[in-house]
């Protein structure tokens, strides 16, 4: 409980440091989360679902760029479909993708919180009605998790740690208290799924943070706060610069690092939090033999 309280305070501070924006849609259901594996790369925003609805800008701002889907065969093809980009204060830009064609507000260059800037649609690569929301800090040149700057979601469901396994000579060994492991250096992975928010179907999401403890010592932290391009590679910035290829072993399988397992008793603890501070924990006591 105290942990959750502290987490919410920290989240509040993060929100304060950027801006407290408004949700762009009234009916909120999160279909895909920031940093999630989407077609072999990090998702750089969030997908919001629901029935077709009006979209408002996160904050007052200025129209910087818009693109209608398929206006000319000479245009770049775009998986974002019809999209708009607004510039807000402090160098923050917001992008709204998959909007209905011909729904976007292009003749008003400065918009307020009340202006409808478009309607959720199915343009681009996603066939269902949705809104792709992306936030960019142009000062620090990074993609920010939009949930950091939006009002907190009412989400009571804990993220779930399905399996924890080690990689030994290319073999996947699922860990449980009875697993017999010989000492050595192994890659440690976890299958983690957060529950979709306000969806009436099973829709897993990436969590907000993953922490790994071995015998109480914190050895790895992965936070889905921001992404930045460093020397041509997209990296999770608050996690020692992890690339997609380093982090994802599969759609929901996260590589937590390579660790030395010495003979004796080892307690593996994995703690996973979602954006509302819900925490899922998995403890696996292991006996490592020579």
């Amino acid at each position: 409980m105290i942990n959750r309280f502290l987490f919410l305070i920290l989240m509040g501070l993060s929100v304060f440091s950027i801006n407290a924006f408004q949700w762009p849609v009234s009916e909120i259901s999160v279909l895909a989360s920031f940093g999630q594996n989407e077609f072999g790369s990090f998702l750089k925003g969030i997908n919001l679902g629901g029935s077709p609805q009006d979209v408002k800008a996160l904050d007052s701002g200025e129209l910087v760029f818009y693109s209608h889907q398929a206006e000319s065969p000479l245009d770049l093809p775009s998986g974002l479909g019809t999209y708009v980009i607004y510039q807000h204060n402090n160098g923050i830009r917001s992008l709204y993708g998959h909007l209905q064609d011909n729904s976007i507000l292009t003749d008003k260059l400065i918009v307020s919180l009340e202006d409808v800037i478009g309607k959720t649609g199915n343009t681009g690569m996603d066939p269902g009605s949705m809104l792709y929301l992306q936030l960019i800090d142009t000062g620090f040149k990074k993609y920010i998790n939009p949930l950091l700057s939006l009002p907190l979601l009412n989400d009571q469901l804990k993220p779930r740690i399905k399996n924890v396994y080690i990689l030994s000579h290319g073999e996947k060994i699922i860990l449980n208290p009875k697993t017999n492991i010989k000492s050595g250096v192994f890659g440690l992975c976890a299958d983690i799924r957060d529950s979709g928010v306000n969806t009436d179907f099973y829709n897993p999401l990436a969590p907000f943070s993953i922490s790994l403890y071995l015998n109480g010592e914190n050895l790895a932290n992965i936070n889905f706060e921001s992404l930045k391009v460093v020397e041509g590679n997209m990296l999770l910035q608050e996690s020692d610069g992890i690339s997609f290829e380093e982090l994802y072993k599969n759609d929901w399988e996260y590589f937590l690092g390579e660790f030395e397992f010495n003979p004796g008793d080892v307690m593996i603890e994995i703690s996973v939090k979602d954006f509302s501070g819900n925490e899922g924990v998995k403890l696996i006591p292991l006996k490592i033999t020579d």
Binding site: L76, Y83, N233
Partner: protein, 350 residues
């Protein structure tokens, strides 16, 4: 007296012709050669030596021969790119793109999620989220990939160089192997953004349209291993979407499609010509010093065809009654698509 009067008239006439004579405007003739109705045509075997043209019209794509016979056609899935070597007909979401040849035969696969984009006889894949571009060779291998910190606003290739730009104001020029020759954020405006740009076929110049307050069209010159702004023109800052830019085939002119205007820049004289323009360019052919500017455009009223001289003197304009239209120009042949018909014209300029 009569002879004297005649001599005076002849002298005045020759003086006028010599001193004030003007060349006649160019005359273009388009002679229809054949028409093909895609609805009723079937694929036919073609002479292996015959010239073949790609087409993409009214939900169908394929190749048509010089005498108007369909060599291959198939229905459009979601989107398609096609050139004279092959095509990719793709669905809305793909983990793998399938490349086919001019007779529809399987050529290879591209193991890169995203949408394909052909430019300057080169093949690219743009990631679904628009923040990375990779070049693919004819075997389907990924030659290089570039990832950016915001959405791409344009990618174009000419000669050995590739131009990329982003919505947060970055411009990059890449060489054939994907090595960066130039990478800079344009910070000359209140808001940093690039709406479009291109590099000339010889790599000597670059044209860009950038920023808000001011919004600038700029010509950059390549010298001392870098691009430097040679000249800029200010716009009214009303453009907020991608705009098409390019160079004439002989690299002597640049063109820019802006919000309500079309511009041509004479590179040698650094002179800007403009004309009112509505809608978006669907196809443009601009030879340069020796040729005409031929544009298929589309606005809210439909498709239209404009033929102009390089100083934007309009020679021909017609609106086309069509739900879909396409235009392709090959030396002296013009292929105009109107709904499900392709019409070939022989073109002669006198």
């Amino acid at each position: 007296m009569k002879i004297f009067k005649t001599i005076i008239i002849i002298l005045v006439f020759f003086t006028y012709v010599i001193n004030f004579g003007r060349p006649l405007n160019k005359e273009i003739t388009y002679s229809p050669v054949w028409v093909n109705n895609l609805d009723t045509s079937e694929n036919e075997k073609s002479d292996p030596d015959s010239v073949i043209y790609p087409f993409h019209l009214d939900g169908t794509l394929g190749y048509i021969s010089d005498i108007g016979k369909i060599v291959y056609s198939e229905d459009l899935l979601y989107g398609a790119v096609i050139d004279d070597k092959g095509f990719i007909n793709y669905s809305r979401q793909n983990k793998v793109l399938v490349v086919k040849g001019i007779k529809g035969q399987f050529q290879n696969t591209i193991d890169q999620p995203g949408y394909p984009f052909f430019s300057g006889n080169r093949r690219f894949v743009i990631s679904y989220d628009n923040n990375s571009v990779s070049e693919i060779n004819l075997n389907g291998d990924i030659l290089w990939e570039k990832t950016y910190g915001s959405s791409l606003s344009s990618v174009s290739a000419r000669g050995s160089r590739v131009f990329t730009s982003t919505t947060d104001g970055f411009i990059q020029i890449l060489d054939k192997s994907g090595e960066s020759l130039f990478f800079e954020q344009i910070k000359s405006s209140r808001i940093n953004v690039v709406y479009g740009g291109s590099v000339s076929g010889d790599g000597g110049y670059m044209v860009t349209i950038t920023g808000i307050d001011p919004q600038l069209i700029s010509i950059w010159k390549y010298s001392e291993n870098n691009y430097h702004i040679e000249n800029s023109w200010s716009l009214s800052s009303e453009l907020r979407r991608h705009c098409l830019t390019g160079f004439s085939i002989d690299n002597s002119y640049a063109y820019i499609e802006a919000e309500q205007e079309f511009f041509i820049i004479d590179i040698k004289r650094m002179r800007l010509y403009s004309m009112p323009f509505s809608g978006r360019i669907q196809y443009i052919n601009f030879q340069g010093e020796s040729g005409l500017v031929q544009i298929l455009g589309r606005n809210k009223d439909g498709y239209y065809l404009i033929i102009m001289e390089k100083d934007l003197n309009k020679l021909f304009y017609t609106s086309l009654k069509a739900n879909d239209s396409s235009l392709n120009i090959y030396t002296n042949k013009l292929l105009l698509g109107i709904d499900h018909k392709i019409i070939a014209y022989n073109m002669e300029v006198m």
